[in-house]
């Protein structure tokens, strides 16, 4: 066999399994979800074509609108809080005092654990009568069933488990700033507060942007935490979009409508990703050839 033909054969042989995986379990599902959005299926019976009915009903459905808004509110609560706390923790860790490594490891612990297990743990801690917080405070607060509290509380649990992860990036970003820059500013009489705002933050812009974008993308898909903490309640206050897709598909058995919602989420996430790439292309050039 000529060398070139053999290289082609070997190349495709090596690619075959992953190519099958990519086609069958990543690209085909995108076609299937688009196809499903035009059909009605209740998980068991036959599938019937309904044209744009699902699209009309979902896009005018106040429950879905609420769910997008709740997700937006959730993102607005989670991402800035997580970044602010992450910056504080990173500022403490970046001094590299003895033992910093131990603290850095501790902070990441919640992030390694199953979000579902974390949510169940917090469900006990926040349980109104026999939970840990109730025992400490000595009074009952309906953290998860009070319509005004539920979304902030779900956000707080998400922040609690994600801060350590964010912190790691910020520590890396801070340590990458050349010490001479800080030294020069100190000589010029800048206080550490001024140095943080005028040097550290501006020089960390790429890191901040990366953490913000990935934070938004993952917050937009939070499911496990909602499922175990509130089940989307009370009064749909924590019915984040991933949970709505699940409830629509496997609770209400309205697969076609769930497919529309999934596609709407997809378009939003791709939009965010594209913006991110446009931003990063200007600063870093990836070699992908």
């Amino acid at each position: 066999m000529p060398r070139r033909a053999r290289s082609t054969a070997v190349g495709y042989a090596l690619l075959a399994p992953s190519l099958f995986g990519v086609l069958a379990f990543l690209l085909l599902p995108m076609l299937v979800v688009a196809w499903l959005s035009l059909h009605r299926w209740d998980l068991l019976g036959p599938i019937s074509y309904v044209g744009l009915d699902n699209w009309r009903s979902v896009l005018t459905d106040p429950v879905f609108g609420n769910s997008l808004l709740a997700t937006l509110g959730f993102i607005a609560l989670v991402v800035p809080t997580q970044m602010a706390l992450g910056l504080v923790a990173a500022a403490l860790l970046a001094r590299e005092l003895p033992g910093s490594g131990v603290f850095r490891t501790l902070y990441v612990l919640p992030w390694v654990c199953a979000p579902l297990a974390i949510a169940v743990l917090w469900r006990w801690i926040l349980a109104p009568t026999d939970g840990a917080v109730a025992a400490v405070l000595g009074r009952q607060i309906d953290w998860l069933t009070d319509p005004g509290l539920a979304l902030p509380v779900v956000s707080a649990v998400t922040v609690w488990s994600g801060v350590g992860y964010t912190t790691l990036f910020f520590v890396a970003g801070m340590l990458a700033i050349p010490p001479q820059v800080h030294a020069a500013a100190t000589v010029d009489g800048a206080s550490s507060w001024q140095r943080f705002w005028r040097i550290t933050l501006p020089m960390m812009r790429p890191t901040l942007f990366f953490v913000a974008v990935t934070g938004v993308i993952s917050a937009a898909q939070v499911f496990d935490t909602v499922y175990a903490l509130t089940g989307g309640g009370p009064q749909h206050r924590t019915d984040l979009v991933a949970h709505r897709i699940y409830a629509e598909a496997f609770g209400a058995a309205a697969i076609g409508r769930a497919a529309v919602m999934a596609l709407v989420l997809f378009v939003i996430l791709v939009g965010i990703t594209v913006v991110q790439h446009l931003y990063f292309r200007r600063r870093i050039s990836y070699d992908l050839t």
Binding site: Y12, L14, F25, V108, Y165, V270
Partner: protein, 271 residues
Amino acid sequence: MTSPRSWLVYLGLVVGAVITLAPFSLGLLTSVTSASQFATGSPLSWPDPPTLENYSGLAGFGFGRALVVTALMTAVILVGQLTFSVLAAYAFARLEFPGRDTLFWVYIATLMVPATVTVVPLYLMMAQLGLRNTFWALVLPFVFGSPYAIFLLREHFRAIPRDLERAARIDGANTLDVLVHVVLPSSRPILVTLALITVVTQWNSFMWPLVITSGSQWRVLTVATAGLQSQYNAQWTLVMAATTIAIVPLLVLFLAFQRHITRSIVVTGLK
């Protein structure tokens, strides 16, 4: 060195550590408290005496089997993903064949496909194949490699000096020999990183196992924990034992590899 300022820094770090560790510690303590003590005393009273009755009680809810299914699922996906990702990454990094670059961009494009979006269509596909509630349904979507792993591995493979491979080729090695004896040994750190990412992701996965399995046969730990919590809401000592079992194996893994994991999170944006 221990200026007043350092003490303030340590104070801040300790506050953070307490906030992080307190929920875990309280959950662990509750899991070794007897149900009767929990029901009569304060929820935060010290376990007296500590008991493993909650853990043995979990066996009656199929947690033994769930542990095995979770470990098996994680292991199968781990082996498949690493093997097939290495093969693909090597082809993309080193072999010349028509369509290579186009295919690579197709792989990269699939990085934008979120799992939340594919759950519904994958469910239909598995239903059509008659694979609902089987072990295959748990592993099939993930076992053939991950575009993200392929992307990272390709970068690393391209950084390996070509002379090493040429020397092996001259000695008569074929592609597989080169992979096993030259490429893999010099890629150990990235392989460990990817293995850890895969284990964490799969062990913790919840949404897909939740929808594609039903009943106790192929139930994984996260699904079993969620089921126990919704069914026995008031039996927190039992539920905390379940939570502990779901969490502890990964905590051990994390502490064993903590240097590696904290570094690789930053390198790869591990998600």
